[in-house]
Subunit: 304 residues, 2 copies
């Protein structure tokens, strides 16, 4: 069985044909910038795949999208695509590939499912996170993505980790994202005198020993540790996998993060938690989108 996997990001669209064991038969990625309209770009990236894989082989479509989304309506409203508000993404794909079932989830939910399927030893309860321009998350419980009634479960970037923290664009205060997203970290560093440009430069400065840059990463690590331990306490988590541009900084983030998690874990069952970087990188989202419609082996043992 072969699935068409689609990844709708805020700045790029990607698609792939994925076989039942996770093999990528074809893959294409195009930036959203320069397209006359997002729908055309999406059609274009999908046509690249259907042009390379016989159309008859594709039996189902899995799609991960930047949020917010409405699972019941099959619509998405990605923050960075102003032209799409309640855009009927599921219906659009059904018309593009008639006769194939289409299944939608959030982009971070797909990342989590992809990592669970092809990147880990398949823990019973897992959180996948994308720490990048924003902070997103998704849960996999006993091999099944937990999406929630509206499809918005796992929004770890918008939980309050410090009620005295900065105001967040979402309307709440002190969200994880205000401390640990690339723009959040860079904004704080620049407010405190750093003169670099972006999160990549901040990571390089921290790696070079710049004290202010290191403090920015410590601050992000502390916020991420609170968010992760909160999620672990509520879901009884075994495992966390983190990807995204900020996480690509490696030990500069993961060393203080693991220390903060160990320092702040109170109850005994939180101490088994493993915090790991992504093993699949940018493919995790596409693999997870495919896993929405492929016969992926779930653990079956129930968490309930």
């Amino acid at each position: 069985m072969t699935a068409l996997a689609v990844d709708v990001g805020g700045t790029k669209f990607a698609a792939a044909a994925v076989g039942a064991d996770g093999e990528m038969l074809a893959r294409c990625e195009l930036p959203l910038r320069g397209a006359s309209c997002p729908e055309d770009r999406l059609s274009e990236v999908i046509a690249e795949i259907t042009g390379r894989v016989p159309a008859g082989r594709i039996e189902a479509v899995g799609v991960g999208s930047a949020g917010p989304l409405d699972l019941q309506a099959g619509t998405v409203s990605p923050v960075n695509i102003p032209g799409w508000r309640d855009f009927p993404l599921v219906g659009f794909l059904e018309r593009l590939l008639p006769g194939r079932p289409v299944r939608l989830a959030g982009d971070a939910q797909c990342m989590a499912l992809g990592e669970w399927w092809r990147g880990t030893a398949r823990p019973r309860t897992m959180l996948g996170m994308v720490v990048s321009t924003g902070v997103g998350g998704g849960l996999v419980l006993d091999g099944t993505p937990y999406l929630g009634p509206t499809g918005n479960a796992g929004h770890i970037g918008h939980i309050t980790v410090d009620p005295h923290g900065p105001a967040c664009a979402c309307g709440a205060t002190g969200c994880t994202e205000t401390f640990a997203s690339g723009p959040g970290m860079v904004g704080w560093a620049r407010d405190n005198g750093w003169t670099g440009e972006d999160a990549e430069a901040l990571a390089a400065a921290a790696a070079g020993g710049d004290p202010l840059a290191r403090r920015a990463f410590q601050r992000a690590a502390d916020a991420l540790a609170t968010a992760i331990l909160t999620t672990a306490a509520l879901f009884d988590l075994d495992h966390v996998v983190i990807g995204g541009g900020v996480a690509a900084a490696g030990p500069i983030l993961f060393d203080p993060l693991r220390q903060a998690v160990a320092r702040d874990a109170g109850l005994g069952y939180l101490r088994r938690l493993r915090v790991e970087p992504t093993r699949l990188g940018r493919d995790a989202g596409l693999l997870g989108a495919a896993a929405l419609v492929l016969p992926v082996p779930a653990r079956r043992a129930s968490c309930t």
Copy 2:
């Protein structure tokens, strides 16, 4: 079908015979104080029920216990029962009522399931909370209690709602419980000059307009709102039901709590959340324990 429901609290044991529609055929509650050992008291309270309901009618046993607990091992270690550390509660009940299946969950998890079954219009995703000497929680997802791999899911009392808050007995900092449990509220009020005795007196003072007592309830409400919205963001919640001694204060707690939830809800899908007091009161835990083993109608529609 009739179940024996057992509720192991920190200061009292309760048991009931519960029919398939939630009718209580017999009910007994005894304080733990004065018993030579907890096992004897538990046998005593159960004998009260089996003496009143023909033994043959009881087909299964559901038990809710104060935590922590280990679901795989069937053991419990209630903080307030020092004599029980890794006590094999499931095995004890199996020997007491041979041939009946025994199912264990946390006390707040049982409260949540009981409220879902007999106290609400059965929302798809629900959090039940007990705000009392401690703060506990349990999740019901599509009619099924979500317990987690070790049985400790839903520990909302021990998530950090303010990293600058008081140290918590669990080892973490600024947990919900440090702000919103009875002892946490009374401790803060007394540190600030209040001279009353306990949470009941604090509620009476707040109801009478005492400014310091009202601040203690506002502080608890703010902490509970953060904890509730965090759980709502992660689980995509429809509904929260709150019971326990502190919640029994009524509008003194629920008015500022609902205002704080409305004020702090950022993302759109959080605004559908309903926050309600318990409708079942002290029976919720016993009904939920019974529901662990009775054929309770789950919604069946999946959240995944």
